[in-house]
């Protein structure tokens, strides 16, 4: 996936001279995950910028650059370091378009490696998506595969809206087919979910790092004679409810899976909406599989914190038991 993201950045830098990258350690080092590797060399320091160590002004400066006509793509090094920039994101990036009655665009992408499962120290494994989904004015996207990472990042950069682009860091090293010649304009539309695996018993909604885990669960379930339909949400704001509702109307059951803690989360939103829209067809309540209501634990305990195949199958069981 790292290579796919790198290729997407390269393509975007090539396509539009207004695209700039900014972040900590992204130029000379090429990013701690090497997502920007080689880009400073090829596009120069003016377009691939090593910033001082200050997230708030990485985003704040991006706002000014956007106002001057640029399209900044900012990297926040890890999920846990996005909070110093929270004010600029929520108060300025998300709101400036509406505050100026549409006269100022905020074509800013904030790339955020997120999620756990890589054995990192604290603050390096968080899933802050709900904070952004709750915030009007932001789009939130999370690719789950290299192919989607390649397409979706380019779409995010091309969008005139600000996008929080969540990169599932435990999938950074995943390999997969990427069609580098895909026509971005005709690829799966931004904001659309995708039914990644069809099934008839229970719908599983997930995104980012959990897609692979959910597909594994579906494999195991299939062996046990249960047919799971796996929906990759891809976009978290907006959420593609039409696709999800259509799936749930077929299966009558839904399990939502994410790593983030559950209270007032994306899973809560999905459960609330589906419970309403599919009220007459649900044969079981929406079951949520999420991180616990604790700060992310020390990494030797993360396997217990993170939803895994077993917990997903347990939720499927509970759903089927209704």
């Amino acid at each position: 996936m790292v290579a796919a993201l790198n290729a997407a950045l390269r393509a975007s830098l090539d396509r539009d001279s207004k695209v700039l990258l900014m972040g900590e350690d992204i130029a000379t080092l090429g990013g701690v995950f090497r997502v920007t590797d080689g880009l400073a060399k090829d596009f120069g320091e003016q377009r691939v910028i090593d910033a001082p160590l200050a997230e708030s002004t990485i985003i704040g400066a991006a706002v000014g650059l956007a106002m001057r006509g640029y399209r900044p793509v900012c990297e926040i090094q890890f999920d846990g370091f996005v909070f110093p920039a929270f004010d600029q994101i929520v108060t300025q990036v998300a709101k400036l378009r509406v505050r100026t009655d549409g006269q100022v665009a905020m074509p800013i992408v904030i790339r955020l490696p997120f999620g756990g499962g890589i054995g990192a120290v604290e603050h390096h494994s968080e899933s802050p998506e709900a904070y952004f989904v709750h915030t009007p004015g932001l789009r939130v996207m999370a690719p789950a595969t290299p192919a989607d990472a390649f397409v979706m990042l380019q779409q995010a950069i091309a969008s005139d809206d600000p996008v929080i682009f969540l990169e599932p860091k435990r999938r950074y090293w995943d390999r997969g087919e990427v069609d580098l010649n895909v026509d971005i304009a005709h690829a799966t539309l931004m904001g659309r979910a995708r039914v990644t695996r069809s099934g008839s018993d229970v719908t599983i909604a997930c995104y980012g790092p959990m897609l692979r885990t959910c597909l594994e669960a579906a494999e195991v379930a299939a062996e046990e004679g249960r047919s799971l339909e796996v929906v990759d949400l891809r976009s978290l704001s907006p959420i593609d409810f039409p696709t999800l509702v259509a799936s749930v109307e077929r299966t009558s059951r839904l399990v939502v899976v994410h790593e983030a803690q559950g209270m007032a989360s994306v899973g809560a939103e999905i459960a609330a909406v589906i419970a309403e829209r599919c009220f007459w067809s649900m044969e079981a309540p929406v079951i949520r599989v999420a991180g616990f209501h604790t700060p992310y634990p020390p990494n030797r305990l993360e396997q217990h914190y993170l939803p895994d195949v077993e917990r997903i199958l347990d939720a499927v069981d509970r759903s089927m038991a209704y």
Binding site: L20, Q46, A51, P52, A54, S56, T57, I59, G60, A61, A62, V63, G64, L65, A66, M67, R68, G69, Y70, P72, D87, Q88, T91, Q92, R97, V98, R99, T100, D101, G102, Q103, V104, A105, P136, G137, R139, S159, D160, D161, M190, G191, S237, P238, I239, D240, F241
Partner: protein, 361 residues
């Protein structure tokens, strides 16, 4: 504590209306130029009065008075070129004036019919920024854009003494210094952040902050429009020539309340207004003009008439500012459609149709 009261600043016009020379900031001004500046000052003071009155009459929810700070702002504003870009807080009516934004346009925010009011690109001035400090990094980012465009424009960030404590303002200094960006930080030290005196933000002159970043700083008499003009001009020129960021601290005083909701009698030293009244920014220009014979009765009467006309336009115009259609609140949340907004908008549209008054609380 008097660290902030010291007169160690650039002054070109004394409170008594005497011209002073300054080796680094020479300024030749003609009678016409001074008259023009005086007109700006008078219009701003009148604007302030009128807007305050409009608030008292219930036509505005709130207003942020400028009285006392006219010279700092007009000097800086008149030093700018059209291609420069200003980021300000909510009290820079004088900058807006110099950027060609009609006084009436500013009323939209305070009347609650818009959160902005003008097209930033038409005037090269961002909409007012209310969250303290937030806009200062924006100016630096804009300046980084200027660098990439290769023009000699400058971005300006206007902020207050209170704002200097915010982390964002510091980070903006860091970025500007690191990238040597063409940005002018213009700090109006009006001695208060609401009720909190500047000494709580710093026991040390605020202009000294610049030293820590290797950014040149200049302290100017913010009640002296000529000094503010000359110093800002010189700074902008230096920045245009590639000199990198600069900081100006304009020492002034907020003669009014923080906003019309504020009650400064609770915290303002009782003799402060008297003291600062002797340093009034308008008075000294008038004295200079009298001294030089630049202002006759006609000029003053003409100004008065112009201010009256502006006041009338402001009053009538403000009363005529009506809230937009409620559905417009959904219009610019996103550039491209967002299902949640579409749904919420549809809900409100249906709802408004069912109960057209829409005001049932």
């Amino acid at each position: 504590m008097h660290t902030h009261g010291g007169d160690d600043f650039v002054q070109l016009l004394t409170p008594e209306g005497e011209r002073l020379d300054h080796p680094d900031y020479p300024l030749d001004v003609t009678g016409d130029e001074v008259r023009a500046l005086y007109r700006d000052l008078v219009m701003m003071r009148r604007f302030d009065l009128e807007a305050t009155a409009l608030q008292r009459h219930g036509e505005l929810g709130l207003f942020t008075p400028i009285v006392g700070q006219e010279a700092a702002q007009i000097g800086a504003g008149r030093a700018m070129r059209p291609g420069d870009f200003a980021y300000t807080s909510y009290r820079e009516h004088g900058i807006a004036w110099c950027r060609g934004i009609e006084p009436l346009t500013l009323m939209g925010l305070f009347r609650g019919v818009t959160n902005g009011g003008w097209n930033p690109y038409e005037h090269n001035m961002a909409i007012y920024s209310i969250v303290i400090g937030d806009h200062v990094p924006h100016a630096v980012g804009y300046a980084m854009g200027i660098q990439r465009d290769g023009t000699d424009d400058v971005a300006l960030a206007f902020f207050g003494d209170g704002a200097t404590s915010q982390g964002d303002v510091h980070e903006a200094f860091v970025f500007a210094a690191a990238f040597h960006s063409p940005v002018l930080f213009f700090l109006q030290n009006n001695h208060f952040a609401i009720s909190v005196p500047v000494e709580t933000q710093s026991r040390h002159q605020l202009v000294k902050r610049a030293d820590g970043y290797g950014i040149p700083g200049i302290r100017v008499d913010g009640n002296d429009v000529l000094a503010s003009l000359a110093v800002t001009r010189a700074a902008l020129q230096r920045i245009r020539e590639g000199g990198g960021p600069m900081l100006i601290e304009a020492v002034t005083y907020r003669m009014g309340s923080h906003t019309t909701s504020d009650d400064p009698t609770r915290y303002r030293p009782h003799d402060a207004l008297e003291h600062w009244a002797t340093r009034d920014p308008l008075e000294r220009v008038l004295r200079l003009m009298e001294r030089e014979g630049w202002a006759d009765g006609d000029f003053i009467a003409g100004l008065d008439a112009e201010a009256n006309a502006m006041g009338a336009t402001l009053r009538d115009g403000t009363r005529a500012l009506t809230p937009p259609d409620p559905l417009t609140m959904f219009d610019h949340v996103y550039a491209e459609p967002h299902q949640q907004v579409t749904d919420d908008r549809a809900f409100l549209a249906r709802y408004l149709q069912a109960a057209p008054s829409g005001d049932l609380t």
